[in-house]
Subunit: 139 residues, 6 copies
Amino acid sequence: MTHQSPNVGESRLERGKRALAEIDGAAGQNVVAALADIAPDFANYLFEFPFGDIYSRPGLDLRGREIATIAALTAMGTAIPQLKVHIEAGLNVGLTKAEITETIMQMAVYAGFPAALNGLFAAKEIFAARFPVQREQAA
Amino acid sequence: MTHQSPNVGESRLERGKRALAEIDGAAGQNVVAALADIAPDFANYLFEFPFGDIYSRPGLDLRGREIATIAALTAMGTAIPQLKVHIEAGLNVGLTKAEITETIMQMAVYAGFPAALNGLFAAKEIFAARFPVQREQAA
Amino acid sequence: MTHQSPNVGESRLERGKRALAEIDGAAGQNVVAALADIAPDFANYLFEFPFGDIYSRPGLDLRGREIATIAALTAMGTAIPQLKVHIEAGLNVGLTKAEITETIMQMAVYAGFPAALNGLFAAKEIFAARFPVQREQAA
Amino acid sequence: MTHQSPNVGESRLERGKRALAEIDGAAGQNVVAALADIAPDFANYLFEFPFGDIYSRPGLDLRGREIATIAALTAMGTAIPQLKVHIEAGLNVGLTKAEITETIMQMAVYAGFPAALNGLFAAKEIFAARFPVQREQAA
Amino acid sequence: MTHQSPNVGESRLERGKRALAEIDGAAGQNVVAALADIAPDFANYLFEFPFGDIYSRPGLDLRGREIATIAALTAMGTAIPQLKVHIEAGLNVGLTKAEITETIMQMAVYAGFPAALNGLFAAKEIFAARFPVQREQAA
Amino acid sequence: MTHQSPNVGESRLERGKRALAEIDGAAGQNVVAALADIAPDFANYLFEFPFGDIYSRPGLDLRGREIATIAALTAMGTAIPQLKVHIEAGLNVGLTKAEITETIMQMAVYAGFPAALNGLFAAKEIFAARFPVQREQAA
């Protein structure tokens, strides 16, 4: 899976909805649903700019895009719910568990050990839910 | 270039020096030199942990590692000198200019437009110094 | 309500207690009570500097001050409990639900979509508690 | 000036260009020009999402929007160039110098004294350039 | 207790394990155990670099080191679990409750009142668990 | 020098002015002077709350207070000018160069290597100006 190549005649909103469904899956739909009674327009912006515009661009494949997002959210440390969504998204676009844990561990260098630890514990939770039977060592 | 496979019998310090030279090039050497009269031990830690330990691990190739670092430093916004070093490092390990600019632009979604803008201007400066003749559109 | 005009002869502490009660209401009192057995002096500083000094100044009305605080706490992303207190405070000084959600949504531009999303979910919780019957669209 | 009411038949890009010109003035144009040879598409995103979408929304007037942006950028402390652009923008949409300095000073409460000091020195620079003759006390 | 003077012939890993046990106590062991099935190598890095290298250095005693860590984690506001571990560690190396609460309160000046408040509430929780009978005023 | 014990009958402003002069020296005066034409009241708040209230408290000596401040400002990475002022202040209250560099180096663990590097380069600049003749190794 490289990137969300736009279909002919598709609007930003349509393209963004398709990209969000493919990348974030059910977790993305839950965020959109939760916005319905507080800021429904914001759900459209979320479809349109991040997914319709940015994730649909050529130049960087989706695996690279999810490495970038997982790294940034781990380093920032202020968006654990969104980090979990993107650990799932990373698996959805073909990252291995090892690639995800390596990305997070590397953040110890740039944002400190606590940021990396909190990211690893988020990954542990997502991996446990997604791979319930075999829970072997990730690295 | 996938990762810094350890040579037999090589110490962490030796492996880290080799990895830092290959990845960061002259920019990394300048950082080490600048530490000599204030905290020379810290230069050794910089060789050993980030480069001897983390960047030398299998599981994520160096292209993925530099995408992660460029994303995180752009998002954090507190380490522009180090971001510049890693934009150069990204080129050194085989990232295209487009992959670097896409990584930085994507940070508008996660850390805001100012973070992405400041990252793009850092990339512009590095690209101009590295590709002085042809300075075509990056994206 | 423009600002907390100081009463004649009132101390900073008295003025701050009055301002905190009017602006933050019960939520502010809870914070002060929770400090009693760990750092009671800090409760006084909280009355005196933020509320006795800053919020009591002329030059910016309380509606503007709460927009500023809601924006900053949303963008920082490290103080969700305090953001909730100030979403309530915003309603207390006359901001509409729409003004609060617009302020939070705008932070997507400056601090990224996760910061805005986490802010909107904080507002959703406060609005649901404060307006239990009618829970119509905020924007 | 309340908000950028959309003209009939205007695209997001057109509306965003008009809004950016009215709000940010020459400073905004300089940012767009600087993007031309590194990431020209990003200039379009900057027109479209922040200015075509967000600043053009009803629900919060432009004075409130600039208070929010000045507060957030002061508190974050990672975007001084953008803070300066928005201190100018605040003046452009009708904020007084006192309203701007009060917004920045208030950030001492939420993000610490250094953030407020660095914001005040940014304002001092913008005010000195914009009001060269009379440089009276702002507060 | 000044610093973790290295024993003759001890490896970084051994020295780090010893230092972590003495400084962080059971809380440190819990972190290491939680890493076992997600990133066991990261537990070794945690022993080696922070504890085997940094905390074992002369030049700053462990009381000073814990003041530094408590201050930084309070100011950053993104690592409350790690802040709690280091409030315990501060007590382990001989800081008084007053020294810990003073360090945290001071962060109101540098990182804002919310950061200090969230730090004080973390300290309140640790002190209550550690000193269950006498829970007198900390300052 | 332990802490700024209040003199009998001294106001917060007087005590704060005395404490700022003793701790920050000329660097503190420069900050106050720079505020005169933009926000003179803010200079008073700076005297009163950080220096008149916080630094004048018993419970933590000034050496501990400066370790805390140097650690926090290094970790935050958004306040290099203020970090430099407090590296000087650390020397003023009796910290050794080694204690200051150790505090900064330790931040690599909690806020990442770039934060520690930028802190060390700030210390290098201050030490070079303050100790022009002998510029021996700090650690």
